[in-house]
Symmetry: C2
């Protein structure tokens, strides 16, 4: 709303008119984010950062419960180090920001602003690891990474983003695989339990996997517009990096061995997913568990009966005492209508309104943001009902998103059906694939949709490849993606 | 201990022989930190990072309790933006790392890896702020900054470090000043209550203040070797930046005004302070509140009486149930002597040992790391005694550090006394100063000691400047510093 704000949003564009504009309007108008002076970079504003803090807390607690510890590796990586693993450097080199001068001197070697930290972490692990007794290495870091992107959109794809990257080492392949799956489960739980965002978990195809890894597992969510959002990936890296970086240890038999390696990451992109899963044309819709403010209490027309203030204040305090984050909004210089709009736009799950008439009848009005419905309850029941609504709204948002995904998922068996489905009902396509990179590339070329994953939960939808018609035993989910 | 570790520490150098080497030995051997491949950068290892997490949690909770919210600003700042506030750019330009290439293209304008974020934050605040109703702006961010340093030492001075930077805007000078002092109080509380590290709070001289600010407040701690460590600074920036960046708002009278501005920061440097305040020639000594592991229970000679395992395990569980972070060390492939050494080196505040003989007498041995003393207690009293020791050790370490500072503080009234005191009892010098930059510069030139601060708690130690002998009404603390 500031004077010289080029990003000022008068009114949120309806998503039916222009989905991309709707998204941009929502995130700017609700002050989650702003564009930074350097193109492709974003500023995460306090209300947006509060979402990230909740995501971070959720994951960090689970990482630690599974024995992981955090650490911090430097921002800058020498060019020569980045080049040690061939596929890896090929994957990231085009996106690297280079530091060439330090202080007033030109550096002898260019330094990459980390696009991810496998190479520097492996260099240090190689120095530290000695014996099988030191394994497993279960470490993680929360940081920011830079990847020079051509087309960017806040949270979804930016030249800098916040994330965590876990990097673990194990004695056996089995243990490393187990870690890979276990950490994907944390991401899945974060999406489903915290963000009320259902996801499909599975394996990436060879051409979509992490550069330098053996296997990439992923979770994929469906957005309002039917597009997929890759929401977290967990990689089994085998011994590719441990060999390239000479990470060895003395094993139980006294031999020198290379450990097995995983890495896994989830980022601020999840905030984009949260918005494109639940929000509407009025603004944000936040599931209660992620909402920085879970309920707002608004005294109405207190000038006509000051008792309204006492009663609402008391209710507000009681709701807070239940562990609910609450805003008591008795600001005098704003109208009730303005307040209703503001908190609706900001996605507060529940609003409690009490005015003089309500008070006479010993009632309060509860407004829920997910359904936009109002209900009238006895004043004595307000606190309990607000507590109940937290769980109800959380569940309803999850159910609604799941229903949307199911409605927008088509099963097809040939490319005609494929294209027709994509056209008529943009969303996920479930079909069979022979496994060839050629068919995969052709599908992408003809439809711009990509194989999002081979779901862990495979279904038998026929036995012929959707593209070439040859024998196929892989069920895939295909979609256009962010 | 790894095979190819150039930083391998066989034995910690006694601090009396070589204080700098002692410090380096301690932080490497206890695996707090390691040198990164790029000179001047550090890797914070899990045990070191756990200390930072506790510092961060302590401060973050207090920041939020006082109404601050976190946010995130981009890593990269355009050169032109950095240059907007003249004194500021002069202060930081020599230390900036420059990004000149993004992806495979040369950038049109060089981008600074942030050495601090005033300039980019002010640019955005200028865009956002509109009305007095929006004030105060109470925001903070946790991030890493890069300052190209010539001489570095892990935690104390590195080319990249982790910190927080708070940036607030206020309607009045009084409010901004109050914020400045209030945030310094948080740093003081963190040092004294969490790290058991007494500090002197005061104001920096003009020549030592923050580049571009009006007033810098600081807390200064004394290390084992008598040197000072600046441990946190809080700046009142007046309207210097708000004018340079055209941050205006419509005030209560409807006029366009510039808000008053503060910034404040504390960093991973605090970990260096923690070590140089308490640790000894055996390794780390950690105050219980900051210790990642607060107690260790070690069963001794359990092969001779397996009941030792049951009893120690039960005690360990009971101690944990009291909210104490505990390691139960029943590893079989390590000797008891090895374990004792390892946990002593790592600074665990309390060790509980129980062997077959102890069991017969219904006793346990408690070892406290701060005094290196052992005490024997009834097994039934172990849990309560461990809980008590947490507070006792925390307090003892604080008292010891304060006593050390008092013993190493001299009061002088002329430069002969000054030099003699510095020579005979390296530490803090309390004296009077006339306030002239010239005297300050001369003192530094002749002794390498600098004015650390003008303590808030002023004492009348005479009325003549220690250097020029002219009238002086400022009591200062002078010391050599990290």
């Amino acid at each position: 709303m500031a004077k010289n704000d080029k990003n000022f949003v008068e009114r949120i564009t309806p998503m039916e008119d222009d989905f991309a504009q709707w998204y941009t309007d929502v995130i700017l108008k609700t002050e989650l984010v702003d564009y930074a002076p350097v193109k492709g970079f974003m500023v995460i504003r306090p209300y947006g950062f509060a979402l990230w803090e909740k995501i971070k807390d959720f994951m960090d607690e689970r990482f630690k419960a599974a024995g992981h510890m955090n650490m911090y590796f430097p921002l800058l990586i020498p060019e020569s180090m980045l080049k040690k693993e061939a596929e890896h450097v090929e994957g990231f080199a085009p996106e690297v920001a280079w530091v060439t001068h330090g202080g007033e001197k030109k550096l002898e070697e260019r330094l990459a602003v980390r696009p991810t930290s496998e190479t520097i972490i492996c260099t240090m692990y190689s120095k530290w690891l000695n014996s099988y007794r030191d394994l497993p290495y279960l470490y993680n870091q929360w940081n920011s990474v830079v990847r020079w992107e051509k087309t960017t959109r806040p949270f979804l794809r930016t030249s800098e983003f916040l994330w965590q990257e876990g990097h673990t080492l194990h004695e056996t392949k089995e243990e490393a695989m187990e870690e890979t799956y276990q950490q994907l489960e944390v991401y899945k739980a974060c999406c489903e339990e915290l963000l009320a965002m259902p996801v499909i978990d599975g394996i990436k195809s060879e051409s979509e996997k992490f550069a330098g890894g053996d296997l990439t597992t992923t979770i994929e969510a469906m957005m309002h517009d039917g597009k997929a959002l890759q929401s977290g990936t967990s990689h089994y890296l085998g011994q590719n990096f441990t060999r390239a970086f000479d990470i060895t240890y003395s094993d139980r038999e006294g031999n020198t061995s290379y450990p097995y390696h995983t890495s896994w990451g989830a980022s601020t992109r999840l905030i984009g997913g949260l918005i494109m899963t639940h929000s509407d044309n009025r603004g944000l819709v936040l599931p209660p568990r992620i909402a920085p403010i879970q309920a707002v209490v608004i005294p109405v027309a207190a000038d006509k009966n000051p008792k309204v203030l006492d009663v609402t204040k008391e209710i507000a305090d009681k709701i807070k005492a239940k562990g609910i984050t609450l805003r008591y909004d008795d600001r005098e210089n704003y109208s009730v209508g303005f307040k209703f709009n503001e908190w609706e736009m900001k996605g507060i799950p529940v609003r409690v309104e009490i005015g003089p008439r309500d008070l006479e009848n010993n009632k309060a009005v509860l407004f829920r943001r997910d359904t936009l419905e109002k209900e009238t309850v006895e004043i004595d029941n307000v606190v309990d009902r607000v507590v109940e609504l937290m769980e109800e709204i959380q569940q309803n948002l999850y159910d609604r998103a799941l229903k949307h995904r199911e409605e927008r998922t088509s099963v097809v068996s040939n490319m005609d059906e494929f294209k027709k489905a994509l056209e008529e009902k943009p969303g996920f396509i479930k079909t069979m694939w022979c496994g060839s990179a050629e068919c995969e590339a052709k599908i992408k070329e003809e439809t711009t949709a990509t194989i999002r994953c081979l779901p862990f939960k495979q279904e038998k939808l026929g036995d012929k490849c959707v593209y070439c018609g040859k024998k196929a035993d892989k069920m895939v989910v295909v979609a256009k993606a962010y």
